[in-house]
């Protein structure tokens, strides 16, 4: 499956760029991520627990960043092996552009699954991948955006809902490095 979307983030491109290379950010933002270690250069080892339809599994895998154009774009790709549950592979081409005082983040995601996940859950994968991507970028947005107080972000319905729920975490990355 493939999907693409854009998101306006109220933070500077520099901040957004730094965040996407930070394993702590990735751990907070990847839904179901139990642990992550590594560096942007060598790649990150991640453990993610997810449930797709009837199949629940702990995926271990390598997340790699490639095609890095400093401050502008990169490709995040990963393959998670879920043992008997199968595997999931995917990548996101992410672009960052300054816009309206913040950053316009656009992404194209493609994902595929194999093994039992494909056999039992393939019809759910499109919806699942969209949900994963949405959640990831919502959390990412919440992590890097101000304000520091836990008020809902302005506008953007979906994001506001996510941000509300995660209110206390909002802006944590910005605070950390700011």
């Amino acid at each position: 499956m493939e999907l693409h979307d854009t998101r306006q983030i109220e933070a500077s491109p520099d901040l957004v760029w730094a965040a996407i290379l930070n394993p702590d950010v990735l751990k907070e933002c990847i839904p179901g991520c139990e642990s992550i270690s590594g560096t942007p250069e060598a790649g990150f080892e991640a453990v993610v627990v997810q449930k797709v339809g009837p199949v629940k599994a702990r995926f271990t895998g390598l997340v790699q960043l490639s095609d890095i154009v400093e401050g502008q774009s990169l490709t995040i790709s990963g393959e998670g092996k879920g043992g008997p549950a199968g595997f999931a592979k995917g990548g996101a081409k992410v672009r960052f552009a300054p816009e309206a005082g913040g950053t316009k983040l656009s992404y194209e995601v493609e994902a595929s699954v194999g093994g039992k996940l494909a056999q039992l859950g393939s019809r759910l994968i499109d919806g699942f991948a969209k949900k994963m991507a949405d959640e990831f970028f919502e959390r990412f947005q919440a992590a890097v955006e101000g304000p520091e107080a836990p008020e809902p972000a302005p506008a953007e319905g979906d994001a506001a809902e996510g941000a509300g729920a995660e209110g206390k975490k909002k802006g944590w990355f910005k605070r950390m490095i700011g």
């Binding site: 008997p84 194999g114 039992l120």
Partner: protein
């Protein structure tokens, strides 16, 4: 004549155990000291197998041993039972099919390693800990891409094209010439959708080994235990037949998928000896979807040349037939000799040329599935005829009638090698016309229209070749086995009869119908006859059940053996009555001397055979047991005419099958109720193929219709009440019972009827839709309506 003999619809005796949960299936068998196997299978469709690390798994609780390809060095591959020679006389490409994957994996489900443990749960847990290192390679799925330079499924054979077969190659020039001169040519491109067989009972196997006697036993879900014994013993494991017993107990449906010799059977037999413990494996349903040989999957271009009056002048086809990743046991025969030979249908088409390209892809192997080649042939012929009729403005019944082989033209030599012995296609069509009340269709259509539904009528005929086969003929065509059948008829001292048949029953009702034949021949109650099958230790070498062959071939062997019994019994009776055996008549279980009132009962003769106190011992051996092997002189040719009425919802594209009528010529019928049941089941599967079922792979070769959530099996609500008739019988001329076989007919004849009906419904509504590929899902039908 006994009331329960030939022609009586007596109830199936096997149903007592099947319906009360007392059947004995392979998984019901548990042996002392039994261990359990769990297969680690490829999750990718194509990949380089670098390493299988079993270190951690081997330390898991209960693990006895973990097997990989290394353990099978020196063990043979799973053999293919039919060698095809291509258009140029070259033998087909035949890659090795290892028991466990070596170096490469070639489809999702390809077995890589097997854990054997004390319990199934332990085996399964340890299997999860086996670490497989695979470099995924691009999978090849599309057949045309596969032969046009796609990735190689088998590197060592250098091509994905297994064979390029022409049939009959000598017909090609004349066929092309006839096309060049034809008034009209109708062309149709179509797909015969891939199906997953889905027998109710998943496959299972138990290997057992007795080291004291060096005896191997395999319990398995097979349609033909002797074939498994021969293939596995001789080609894979090197076990002589007298040291290998194969038992196929109650088997819950096969539909072809349980003909073949599978890796799991060889594995449990092999491992049982290694471990000196019984090893059991039972497939999960998920495993069935990625390991049971699948069906159909042909992509075809068919052309029909006609004159202005709609007479068929020539037919030619080009078909791509999917073999999957390996050659399953009879895979190569299905698109060739079980398909090309039927391309004449019920019609006089003077020139026919069939080209079939068999192709390897990274999918589950494909082999025979209920109908096996004949549904593919029938679908093409009957769809292209329907299209031609529309193009020429002819009634679909009329165009068929104009081209039928007539009743007085049998035996009829077709241009595709076979000789039909009997048939009356006009009779079945006429019967169909009345039974399906085709005259009343317009009225029903008007009623449907009032409800906003588009009603359509689809009609077609079919022919099939059953009772495979004359061994000398199939041998010439590349079969690596004989295809006779065997029976031993053992009469006990007290008059009861046990028949040990090489046929195998996995739902067909042999335990009921075979006794009916014996009861009829001897004149004893059916209850006096018992059928034994499915155990190589108990029955003579038999070739098993597939291709609707049991009664026509196995039944004939039984008749032959019974005739020997009767001949001997007459001699005994003649001795007892001091008469000449030429004067002895057998009727209603009583031997009498013609023209006298002297008689002796069946039971008295049987007793004399085993207690030969008053017996012609100098000229006759005691005992009453005979074995016969029957090798047919020709195929049998069941045929029929089917009609389907559908309602299409123009808003949703949903198709409802409103009526289905099947008029079949099965020759003589032993148990009409069982025959009707077989037709019902076959039509159910045919409608399933036409409307619902589709084994779909994604672009990476993942089987994404791999569960009953995604693979749509027909349910009662999808099917109408059928009208079934088999009164237009032209008995087979060359077997003693005059029977033809009924097991596959419904699945062969019904898909084109459904598709013809849907296209008819749309055409009548003014939608210019000439074809929709199966399955006719609401989305496909709705899209066709939108695009018309």
């Amino acid at each position: 004549m006994p009331k329960d003999g030939i022609g009586a619809s007596i109830k199936r005796r096997e149903d007592v155990r099947f319906l009360t949960g007392t059947g004995r299936y392979t998984d019901d068998i548990n042996l002392r000291g039994q261990s359990y196997a769990w297969f680690v299978r490829s999750q990718v469709a194509h990949g380089k197998l670098n390493k299988v690390d079993t270190t951690a798994a081997a330390k898991m609780p209960g693990v006895l041993r973990i097997f990989t390809a290394k353990d099978f060095e020196g063990v043979g591959g799973l053999p293919c039972g039919w060698q095809i020679h291509d258009r140029h006389g070259k033998p087909m490409l035949e890659p090795k099919h290892p028991v466990l994957a070596e170096g490469k994996v070639r489809h999702v489900g390809d077995p890589i390693a097997v854990v054997v443990a004390e319990t199934e749960a332990q085996a399964r847990d340890a299997a999860d800990a086996v670490v497989i290192d695979i470099d995924e390679l691009p999978a090849v799925l599309d057949m045309k891409a596969a032969v046009a330079g796609g990735p190689l499924v088998h590197d060592d054979i250098g091509s994905n094209l297994c064979y390029d077969w022409g049939f009959v190659e000598e017909n090609k020039a004349a066929t092309d010439a006839a096309f060049a001169k034809a008034d009209h040519v109708t062309t149709l491109e179509l797909v015969n959708n891939r199906l997953a067989p889905n027998a109710m009972e998943p496959r299972a196997a138990i290997g057992d080994y007795d080291f004291a006697t060096d005896m191997h036993t395999l319990y398995t879900t097979s349609q033909n235990p002797h074939v498994i014994r021969l293939l596995m013993g001789a080609f894979v494991l090197g076990i002589p037949e007298h040291k290998l017993r194969v038992v196929a107990p109650d088997v819950g449906g096969g539909f072809g998928s349980k003909i073949y010799h599978y890796a799991e059977e060889a594995f449990v037999t092999f491992a049982a000896k290694q471990l000196r413990r019984p090893v059991k494996w039972t497939a999960t349903r998920s495993e069935s979807f990625i390991t049971d040989a699948q069906g159909r999957d042909h992509v075809t271009k068919i052309e029909l040349a006609l004159d202005k009056q709609g007479h068929f002048l020539a037919l030619r086809t080009e078909t791509y037939a999917n073999m999957g990743a390996y050659l399953s046991t009879f895979s190569t025969a299905i698109p060739t000799y079980l398909h090309g030979t039927l391309m004449a249908g019920t019609y006089k088409t003077p020139h026919i040329y069939v080209n079939v390209k068999a192709v390897f892809t990274n999918t589950v192997p494909v082999d025979a599935y209920r109908g096996a080649g004949r549904p593919e042939a029938t679908y093409q012929i009957e769809r292209v005829i329907d299209k031609a009729a529309r193009e020429l403005g002819l009634d679909p019944l009329e165009i068929r009638r104009r081209n039928f082989i007539k009743a007085d033209e049998f035996p009829y030599q077709t241009p595709v090698a076979v000789v039909y012995d009997t048939g009356d296609y006009d009779a079945t069509m006429n019967k169909l016309e009345s039974l399906a009340d085709l005259a009343g269709f317009e009225k029903r259509r008007a009623e449907s229209a009032k409800a906003g539904k588009l009603r359509g009528l689809g009609v077609n005929t079919y022919i099939e070749a059953c009772g495979i086969a004359p061994s000398h003929l199939v041998g010439q065509l590349g079969a690596r086995a004989g295809l006779y059948e065997s029976a031993t008829v053992r009469v006990n001292a007290t008059g009861g009869v046990v028949v040990m048949t090489g046929s195998h029953s996995h739902g067909q009702g042999h335990e009921t119908t075979f006794p009916q034949v014996i009861a009829e021949m001897i004149g004893i109650p059916v209850e006096s006859v018992e059928i034994v099958h499915g155990d190589t230790a108990n029955v003579p070498m038999g070739m098993g059940t597939y291709g609707s062959r049991s009664l026509a071939v196995g039944g004939s062997a039984m008749v032959k053996a019974t005739n020997k019994i009767i001949a001997k019994a007459k001699k005994i009776a003649a001795h007892l009555m001091e008469a000449s055996d030429a004067d002895i008549e057998l009727k209603d279980g009583k031997f009498s001397v013609a023209g006298t009132d002297k008689s002796v009962e069946w039971g008295a003769v049987c007793l004399a055979a085993y207690v030969p106190h008053n017996y012609p011992l100098e000229s006759l051996e005691p005992g009453l047991e005979e074995t016969a092997f029957y090798d047919p002189s020709n195929f049998t040719y069941p045929s029929g005419a089917y009609a389907c009425e559908v309602e299409v919802d123009p808003d949703t594209g949903h198709v409802k099958v409103c009526a289905f009528t099947a008029v079949d010529d099965f020759g003589n019928v032993v148990n009409p109720m069982i025959v009707e049941g077989q037709v019902h089941g076959g039509i159910g599967q045919g409608i399933g193929q036409a409307l619902l079922e589709h084994a779909v792979y994604d672009g990476n070769g993942q089987m994404i219709a791999g569960s009953f959530m995604d693979y749509a099996m027909p349910r009662a609500g999808d099917l109408p009440f059928y009208k079934v008739d088999h009164s237009c019988a032209t008995p087979c001329t060359h077997n003693p019972l005059g029977v033809k076989g009924c097991g596959e007919a419904g699945a062969i004849g019904s898909p084109p009827a459904v598709v013809n009906a849907v296209v008819d419904a749309l055409q009548r509504a003014g939608k210019k839709v000439s074809h929709i590929d199966m399955p006719l899902s609401p989305y496909r039908v709705w899209s066709a309506i939108q695009n018309a």
